[in-house]
Amino acid sequence: MNRLQSVVILGATSAIATAVARELAEHGARLFLVARDGERLEPLLQDLRVRGDDASATRILGTTADLADVDAHADVWTQAQEALGDNIDAVLLAWGTLPDQDACNASVATTLEAIHVNGTSAIAFLAHIAPDFEQRGRGVIAAIGSVAGDRGRQSNYVYGTAKGMLATYLQGLRNRLFFSSVDVVTIKPGFVRTPMTEGFNRAGALWAEPETVARGIVKAMRRGRDVAYLPWIWWGIMTVIRLIPEYLFKRLKL
């Protein structure tokens, strides 16, 4: 079981990351939160301090940064280490956007930007922190991918490409860090009721609440799971979807 007493959360104002932060704060964890929008980060820090009984704001800290900007990563990581000391137990990567596939179809620049925000920028951060974890020989690195990364579908394959690339990178990193006793956890949520999916018809049994997914993330991080489909039913769904032969799959309107 991994300790989650001292955790860095990147992209903290996303609904899922917020729910994870709340759960950890309620268990007394020390947190360092990074988010792009200070107007949203401050109220969240305040909320976590109340939940975590941290009235003096010594355990729950944060900073604003645009994590799509790879040049900012070194500074963010330094700040996190200064805030939490060298004993960082875990890092959770949760930033990203849900690009509009039609807009991507119409623009190469939009496509590449979506891949950067959801894929390469996350990989850049992982590449930056991996040696530190390797050296310390313990800890958890978790990143939020998506079931969309398991198979390219016409409705959101740009997002899926970025998340699939991230998943493959994490797979390799997991293999590399295994020998340093560092756990690398790939989180693959299905449909989650968050502001990201606001425009969707969210009726139906497959839609999960961010709090449910967050509980699954915390559990997967504690246990050092390799890949966690959340909720678990998505493992079955994606297994079926992956097994459909391509000559059939390409005819489907998914």
């Binding site: 609904a15 107007e39 949203r40 109220p43 969240l44 305040q46």
Partner: protein, 432 residues
């Protein structure tokens, strides 16, 4: 489609916007706005047909808590469920809770909700120390009972019409454990209920009665039931583990499962349940929120939904009036699944439109059966109006403007505080 808990009416909204942070400018639009929290009210008080709904569920952050005084400030979308989870382990409790904990702070204020401890603690609004209210002109009002008593009286129980309630400061009450001491006893008639109540209310901060409105008692009149009282326990029982059961009604049955046969059966069984005349330890969750243990219980009424009819009758008319209401329900044959009788304490709510007031309140649930149901409601309305009583806006989908005005005589004074850009289906219906 966004509906309220009873699914009547089913109406379309021009837009539904999720609010993510406080201070966010309200959407300017040609149609009226209304905040929507968890939609646990019944009817159209939380709906705005043709207008915009502002979803407040993401405004759920804590802002400040003083562990010494128990004063808490949070965004208005925070649920009482979240608040209790936070407060109880720290030795504090929400001073007034309604029958479900799945309501938001803002909703609790806007409907000035009451609980089983009204005779002891009054209504929710009495424990609110401050609010911030965002008006459509961009202004943010700091509303407190002392500095802005008029805005306070308009906003508490103000049905969300005075603007968007963004934050709420609430005074919690201390408790020693999550457990309560509770007892219950059968009674055979309303006369026995009043006697029991007079004795119990002095000693028990929480009291409530369930009435079997289908089966007459031994003396032939309708009004038998079970009376319960409780208080917060000072010590936890030896085996104090409690896990709330997680049951759910998984889907909508095609027709209402509540009908004459199932009701008669349910009421018989419920009446025959074991009672506990001497107090025993119970966890606060099942005692205060029995229905919360079954998620989506509203589905038992099927797609067509149901009505709740909750009224209050003033003290001088409460005994005869309650009997007349129960007789009316019994005569109609449309018994209610849930009939709850509770005597309010001798204080009016702090809001201009507060529902709680001296007297007694009766709440009834009925499946939607068209004309038959409306016919019964007209009979009940007549009894309520004759008695000088009122219906509860939070649970109403159909009262007439006339009944609203007689039950809420300060409505015109209240109307001057309504935000010009805010409105609701309920408000348009009762003021037309």
């Amino acid at each position: 489609m966004t509906t309220s808990w009873n699914r009547i009416p089913r109406v379309a909204h021009a837009a539904e916007v999720t609010l993510n942070r406080r201070g966010q400018p309200l959407p300017g639009a040609s149609h009226p706005l209304l905040a929507y929290g968890l939609g646990r009210s019944y009817g159209d008080v939380c709906l705005n047909p043709g207008g915009s709904l502002l979803h407040t569920r993401d405004l759920d952050r804590f802002i400040a808590f003083d562990p010494d005084t128990g004063r808490i400030t949070a965004e208005a979308g925070l649920t009482l469920d979240d608040l209790l989870r936070f407060a109880v382990p720290r030795g504090w409790f929400v001073p007034v809770v309604p029958g479900t904990r799945f309501v938001t702070l803002g909703g609790a204020v806007a409907n000035d909700v009451h609980g089983k401890n009204h005779h002891h603690a009054g209504s929710f609004g009495e424990h609110v120390r401050a609010m911030t209210l965002r008006r459509s002109n961009g202004e943010c009002l700091e509303v407190t009972p002392d500095d802005t008593p008029d805005w306070f009286a308009a906003t508490v129980g103000g049905l969300g019409l005075t603007g968007l309630i963004e934050t709420v400061t609430l005074q919690l009450v201390p408790v020693r454990t999550p457990w309560m001491r509770a007892w219950s006893q059968r009674f055979d008639s309303l006369d026995e209920f009043w006697e029991l109540d007079a004795r119990a209310e002095r000693e028990w901060p929480y009291t409530v009665a369930w009435i079997d409105c289908l089966n007459p008692g031994p003396r032939g009149e309708v009004g038998r039931g079970i009376y319960s009282g409780a208080r917060h326990a000072t010590t936890a029982p030896a085996r104090s583990q409690y896990r709330e059961p997680r049951r759910a009604i998984p889907l909508d049955p095609p027709v209402s499962l509540v009908n004459r046969v199932t009701l008669r059966l349910f009421n018989q069984l419920y009446y025959r349940q074991s009672v506990h005349p001497t107090a025993r330890a119970v966890h606060h969750l099942p005692w205060l929120f029995p229905l919360d243990a079954i998620r989506h219980w509203n589905r038992i009424y099927g797609y067509k939904g149901f009505y709740q009819y909750q009224c209050v009758l003033p003290p001088h008319a409460q005994k005869d009036g309650m009997q007349a209401l129960l007789d009316g329900v019994a005569a109609s044959g449309q018994g209610s699944f849930l009939a709850v009788l509770k005597r309010f304490g001798d204080r009016a709510g702090p809001g201009m439109l507060s529902f709680p007031r001296p007297g007694a309140t009766l709440a009834l649930d009925f499946p939607e059966r068209g004309n038959e149901t409306e016919h019964l409601f007209r009979r009940l309305d007549h009894i309520v109006q004759e008695a000088g009583g009122a219906l509860y806006p939070a649970k109403d989908a159909r009262m007439s403007p006339d009944l609203f005005r007689s039950g809420f005589p300060r409505w015109e004074e209240f109307a001057s505080f309504v935000d010009p850009e805010f409105s609701s289906g309920f408000w348009r219906r009762v003021t037309k």
